[in-house]
Symmetry: D2
Subunit: 92 residues, 4 copies
C-alpha cells in the first residue's frame, strides 16, 4: 500500500538522470565554464525536476486518493480527473 507506482524503476532512472546532470553542472563550475551555459543547464534540470514532481503527485493521487480510471463514484472520478488536469498546468 505504500508503494508509489507499479513501476518505480522508471522514476528511479529519472532521478539518476538528474544526478548526472548535476554532475555536469559541478564540472562546469569547477572548470570555469561560461556562466550562460551553466544557467541554461540548471534551467533544464529545474524543468526535469518539475516533471518528476508532477509524476510523483499524479501517482500519489491515483494510488492513494482517487484513481479516475477505477473510481465507482462518477462525481469523485470527475473531481480527481479535473484535479490532475489542473495540477499538470500549475506544476509543469
Amino acid at each position: 500500500m505504500t508503494h508509489l507506482s507499479k513501476d518505480p524503476a522508471k522514476l528511479v532512472s529519472r532521478v539518476r538522470r538528474l544526478q548526472g546532470q548535476l554532475d555536469a553542472v559541478a564540472r562546469q563550475l569547477e572548470g570555469g565554464a561560461d556562466c550562460g551555459d551553466v544557467l541554461q543547464l540548471v534551467a533544464s534540470i529545474r524543468g526535469a525536476l518539475n516533471g518528476l514532481i508532477l509524476e510523483l503527485i499524479d501517482d500519489h493521487v491515483r494510488h492513494h486518493v482517487v484513481d479516475p480510471a477505477h473510481e465507482a463514484d462518477p462525481a469523485r472520478a470527475k473531481g480527481a480527473s479535473d484535479l490532475l488536469a489542473v495540477l499538470r498546468t500549475y506544476l509543469k
Copy 2:
C-alpha cells in the same frame, strides 16, 4: 572573465548536496517508502535548487552585467540593485 564567482567551491558543494538528496530519493523509491515522505523530500530539493539558481543569477548579474557595489553610474547601480531584490522575490 568567464568564471562565475570568486568562490566556485561553495556552489559546487551545494550541487553535491543536491546530488546526495536525490540519492536519498532514489533509495526511498527503491525501498517502497511512504509516498508523502518522498514528496516532502523532493519539495526540499526543489527549494534548494531554486536557491542555487538564485545564487547563480545573482552572481552572473554582479560579475557580468552590473555590480551595484562597484558601479560608477549611480542610476545603473540602483537599477541593478532593484533587479537583484526583485529576482530574490520571484525566484525563491
Copy 3:
C-alpha cells in the same frame, strides 16, 4: 454539487482585492512610477494569486475528491491529507 465552497464570498473578496491591486499597477505605469516599486507590487500580486490558487485547489480536493475530515476509508483520508500538505509546499 458544483459549488466550490460553503463560502464563495470570501474567495470573491480575494479576487476583488487582486483587481484593486492591478488597478494600482495600471496607475503606476500611467504615472511613470519607479520601476522597482511597480515590480515589488506585481510580486505581491503574484503571491496573492498563488495563495488564491492554493485555496481553490484545496477546496476542490475537499469538496470534489476526498475530504480527509469526513472520509470513511483511513488510507484515503491519509492520502488526501498528504496531498494537501504537499500542494501547500509546491503552490505557495
Copy 4:
C-alpha cells in the same frame, strides 16, 4: 528616467485584460460555476501575470541596467543578453 518603457500603454492594456479575467472568475464563483472551469481560468490568468512580470523585468534590465542593443562594452552586452535569455526560461 523613471519611466518603464517607451510604450506604457501596451503594459497597461495587459493589466486591464488581467482585471477583466479576474472579473470573470468572480462571476464564476458567485454563479456557482464548475470548479474545474474556475481553476482553468485562474491558471490562464497566472500564465498572463507571469508574462507581464517577465516583460516588466526585461524592460527594467534594458532601461535601467544594461541594454544589450546599445551597450558599448561587449562583455556587458553579452552578460545582459545571457541574463535576459535565462530569465525568459525561469519566469515564463
